[in-house]
Amino acid sequence: MFDIEQYYEAKSVEDAVRLLSEHEDAEIISGGTDVLVKLREGKGAGGTLVSIHEIPSLHGVRCLPGGTLEIGPATCFTDITNHPLIRRYVPYLGEAVDTVGGPQVRNQGTIGGNVCNGATSADSAATLQTLNAVVVLQGTGGVRRVPVTEFYTGPGRTVRRHDEVCRAIEIAPEDYVGFTGSYMKYGKRAAMEIATLGCCVRVKLDEAGETILDARIGYGVAAPTPIRCRNTEGALAGRRVDDPGIYELIGTGVLDEVNPRSSWRASKEFRLQLISELARRALREAVDRSLNHEAPKTACSDEERR
């Protein structure tokens, strides 16, 4: 038995916000793959849970007018990976969340929880960073939109206030049209892992497929929060893809922009080695995918809206 004193099933986002504001100790629960594990360890034992799991508007992936992709935060990882819009426009995000835990966890755990628990090791984190995703929060003070790059304030900490519920995660067309990407998760085994390191590299090439127009590099576990490596991204822009130097550039450039720590799980030196090596490999795969014409040419359209 779990030590839960009170449990509320919210009917709507407004309902959830109200419940949260009424219960100071309340935690939001959706899939429960983090919350229940913590409860089992005695953290938050005897407390209150507000479930957002049964709120219909928080599920699914949609195309908004203008081509913005909207991901419902209560969508489980399996549904994200398999969703046609994800597969067509941001397949690397689907691949990234397909590395979470095992099949049972992916059927249960949600992307909103993955973002809002503030973990630097979240498998969606590196990719969402490179997508400039926007976290839409709704609280007693109304709705606000926070870029995911400004969402994290420290390990396990975010800007989300106690009474705020994540209502959506949005990805604008300029952040995915023309891009390919690759997420490389590094763990000690092939499944049931929390990332020792996660690296996402995305590129947008010119029409001819010769030059990098835009490069994005995101990491999980390379710092206390998920990060971008903007200096290296800038250095890659304008470089030719047939220049082997780009791999050396990314492999060494990122080392100046990361801040991994030593723990019993992995040493700083080891993480630095991975940071460099994974960046090279992810860039190579992203470029190969572009050369293979896998980048979406257009934004999602009205016909795909559901």
Binding site: D3, K188, R189, A191, E269, F270, E277
Partner: protein, 855 residues
């Protein structure tokens, strides 16, 4: 053989797949109380006081006991047979709850409550005051001058036991080296001196450690437990409580794995005590996964300071090892495992001058080490086979040829008398090498460049089947005939997932002539009813208990035939049981009376000769009463691992005859069906003339043992910049005698190989400097997942072992032994980097490759 050797579906398959099979907690009464153990938050010290006043106020708390309340009785926990000789008894070094704290998480109090939430809430409110001592977590810390002795009442320092084994009493490595220099010249010698380490790991059985206890109306404390050893547990609970054995009852339902962790008595005596202090109410004590990993038993971490000496031509001259194991806070299995490591290290190779191996079991203030699958031999194999390949690398020897030339020879007799009867280690190596394309790959993978490199590696092992003559091997079996001609088989060698119930059923069917569908094995052991057996451990069940099953089946068969003789009015000798019928027995050839080789009073010349030579020798299938050899006899002889059939007159010199009691009368076929078992049984039950309830019950005191062996070959690639190892091909080849059930045997090997994979690459229990476990859960303690396991290949060399009841010998534990050193040696071949410790984690590999300038 009719039934033995066939791949019958597991008798428990249906129940386990559908969920109908009941495990300990499935049987828990609804009104059971829940217990929670309160554990120390320091690794070394003394409990000064415990304040339970706040905890007692939590509604639903029934009872709280502390280390100051329990009986002042120290007891042993090892799942060993008790010894009537005091010197050989397991060491009693713990109480139900302890004031002297010797590990982080030591058990100092317990809460019993209406449910687990209440118990946990109360446990969090208990306040403990300690006197703290310096934690001594590692072997080095425990042996350092001035380290606190953890058990001053038993030992003056933290060395629990030190033993020294030598191939001959006067052997000395340094003397041997001097002799070698004189004989061969220093420039013609290869020497390796290094320190190798293996980690502490957890068994990770899927069912956690759990039990529930109540006091029955007859005053017996009854414990339902997930255990491998119900009868031993009963004795230990009686010792821990100071109650007579007869007042303790243990019941073992189906269990979800043990791998040796449940070959120890864990919290069951405490559970019994908690029920008693709650007026006999039913109390459940289920450990969490975290407690199972860090607070039950572990595999001994081991450090071997080794030296090895060979000639430039690849002749192994001498080795020595000082081997230290981390016992943790309590003795558990004592020095038995450390002794096993040192003996096996010494025996697996043949050193021309000799070998010395010293073992030190060291108490530390950390988790307790106990039994785990293969009982020290995985450590021994890693030490021995790492040293072997490092010698090969330095001397430029082919590791396969070096082992062929220098491994344990046929006919090996260990210092305690255990003899390697059916030897096919070298044949196994040949088979493995062929499968992996050894010679071709060794050449192909030489002189590689680039970040990803491939290699092939190998490892060998041998493994004693049971524990005789080190310890007692005794086993009982009972069979009961039902009115329909079916039988119950009852044993106390337990089914723990390994398939024991299935192969025991096959054995009973084989020897009685009653078909498998009419053999009902009783899977649950209840010590009030089940005949005595020490339980499931070593790789003993099919060998030791198998002998009891056979003996019992022969007795039951004789009684059935005796009744058939009465019903049919024919001599029993003319009758046989075949497929649930009494048939006429047709002799197609002269039958033999089989002679038991281990019977020391047997003065048959062939048997005496076999004992004297103690060679693998030959055995004879068909021998006359007087020991002379019948004309139709066939002989299989083996020398140097080659098995050949010989004609009676052409037995090669030096071979000895060993006769095996197969229990199966050869050259006999069933004739006319005379009576069905159903008719016979019904008559036996209800006859107004001669009513007889046909049962058999026997004890078999097993005084035989033998060795099994085998090897692993692996072909892998190493992605050096990421420290990742990918297995491209892997095979275990096992010399395990006659297979009882090939499908189950293969599954045994698969499971063992996966354990070996984790041991090689990812598994290790980590502790903080103050002794706190860091990764005691299934996320951070990395056992391989299905995604990490490559295709596993398995082959067997089925050579009848004359000691096995059906030609069989050990297979339960051996598969876990050779995989880790084989992977280690393949990484050495791929990269030239000699890893000195497992697990070879990605981080350690990257560091080693950087140091070697490879990345």
């Amino acid at each position: 053989m009719e039934t033995v050797g066939k791949s019958f579906t597991r008798v428990d398959a249906r129940g386990k797949v559908t969920g109908e099979a009941k495990y300990t907690n499935d049987l828990l009464p609804k009104d059971a109380l829940q217990a929670k153990v309160v554990r120390s938050t320091i690794a070394n010290g003394l409990v000064k006081s415990i304040d339970i006043s706040e905890a007692e106020k939590v509604p639903g708390v029934v009872k709280i006991v502390t280390c100051f309340d329990v009986p002042d009785i120290q007891f042993p926990t090892a799942g060993h047979p008790w010894s009537v000789e005091a010197a050989h008894q397991d060491v009693p070094d713990r109480k139900l709850l302890n004031t002297r704290v010797r590990q982080w998480g030591d058990e100092i109090a317990a809460v019993v409550a209406e449910d687990n939430v209440v118990a946990e809430r109360a446990a969090r409110l208990i306040k403990v005051e300690y006197e703290e001592y310096e934690p001594i977590v590692t072997i080095e810390e425990a042996l350092a001058p001035g380290a606190t002795p953890l058990h001053p009442d038993l030992r003056k320092d933290n060395i629990f036991v030190h033993t020294s084994f030598k191939t001959s009493p006067d052997f000395d490595y340094d003397e041997a080296k001097k002799r070698a220099i004189e004989e061969y010249g220093e420039e013609n010698l290869i020497e390796v001196c290094d320190t190798y380490r293996t980690p502490r790991i957890s068994h990770c059985h899927i069912e956690t450690c759990t039990s529930w206890a109540y006091v029955d109306t007859n005053g017996k404390v009854t414990v339902i437990a997930s255990t491998q050893i119900p009868h031993i547990m009963r004795r230990v609970i009686s010792q821990a409580l100071g109650w007579p054995v007869g007042k303790v009852r243990v019941i073992k339902p189906y269990i979800g794995g043990g791998f040796g962790n449940k070959q120890d008595v864990l919290d069951e005596p405490l559970n019994a005590y908690l029920s008693i202090v709650c007026g006999g109410r039913c109390v459940c004590l289920e450990l969490s996964r975290e407690e199972c990993v860090s607070q039950t038993r572990t595999r001994h971490a081991c450090k071997g300071v080794l030296r090895g000496l060979a000639t430039k031509d690849g002749v192994l001259l001498a080795r020595e090892g000082d081997i230290y194991t981390n016992k943790g806070a309590y003795a558990s299995h004592g020095h038995a495992i450390t002794g096993g490591i040192t003996t096996n290290f010494k025996d697996i190779m043949h050193d021309r001058y000799g070998c010395r191996s010293d073992g030190y079991s060291v108490y530390t203030s950390s988790a307790v080490s106990g039994a785990m699958r293969a009982y020290g031999v995985p450590q021994a194999a890693f030490l021995a086979d790492s040293l072997t390949d490092d010698l090969c690398a330095k001397g430029g020897f082919d590791p396969l040829k070096f082992r062929m030339d220098n491994c344990v020879p046929p006919g090996f007799v260990a210092s305690n008398g255990i003899t390697y009867y059916s030897y096919s280690l070298k044949e196994c190596m040949k088979r493995g090498a062929e499968y992996i394309h050894w010679d071709e790959k060794r050449r192909e993978y030489a002189d590689q460049t680039g970040p990803v490199r491939r290699g092939v590696g190998m490892s060998i092992f041998m493994y004693k089947v049971g524990v005789y003559p080190i310890s007692l091997e005794t086993s009982s079996a009972r069979m009961i005939l039902n009115q329909d001609g079916s039988i119950q088989v009852e044993l106390s060698a337990t089914e723990i997932g390994q398939g024991a119930d299935t192969v025991f059923s096959q054995m009973a069917s084989e020897t009685t002539g009653i078909t498998m569908d009419k053999v009902y094995i009783i899977s649950t052991q209840d010590t009030d009813v089940a005949p005595f057996d020490t339980g499931a451990y070593a790789s003993r069940q099919s060998f030791v208990t198998g002998k009891a099953v056979k003996k019992c089946a022969l007795e039951l068969r004789a009684r059935i035939l005796d009744y058939a003789s009465y019903m049919l009015d024919r001599p029993a000798e003319e009758l046989m049981i075949w497929q649930n019928n009494i048939c006429e027995k047709i002799h197609t050839n002269e039958t033999s009376e089989v002679i038991h080789p281990a019977d020391e009073n047997d003065d048959n010349p062939a048997v005496k000769n076999a004992r004297k030579l103690a060679l693998g020798g030959a055995y004879i299938d068909n021998t006359r009463n007087d020991g002379s050899r019948g004309e139709s006899a066939k002989y299989s002889a083996w020398l140097d691992g080659d098995v050949k059939e010989y004609d009676i007159h052409d037995l090669p010199n030096g071979t000895a005859a060993i006769l095996r009691d197969t229990g199966v009368e050869k050259d006999i076929v069933p004739g006319e069906i005379l009576l069905s078992m159903k008719d016979l049984a019904e008559n036996a039950f209800y006859s107004l003339d001669r009513s007889e309830h046909i049962t058999a019950e026997v004890t078999n005191h097993c005084k035989e043992n033998t060795f099994a062996s085998g090897c692993c070959f692996v072909d892998l690639e190493v992605d050096m910049p990421l420290g990742k190892v990918k297995i491209n091909n892997i095979i275990n080849v096992h010399d395990s005698g006659t297979l009882l059930n090939p499908k189950l045997a293969e599954a045994q090997v698969h499971g063992g190989m996966v354990m070996g994979l984790g041991y090689a690459l990812t598994e290790e229990l980590l502790y903080s400097k103050d002794g706190r476990p860091l990764n005691a859960n299934l996320l951070d303690f990395k056992i391989p997942t299905a995604m990490d396991v490559p295709d596993l290949h398995v082959e067997f060399l089925e050579m009848d072992d004359p000691m096995g009841p059906y030609g069989n010998k050990a297979l339960g534990e051996p598969p876990a032994i050779p995989v880790a050193p084989a992977i280690r040696n393949a990484i050495l071949h791929a990269t030239g980097v000699s890893m000195k410790e497992i697990p070879m984690t990605q981080q350690k590999l990257v560091a080693a490759f950087k140091e070697a300038g490879l990345i």
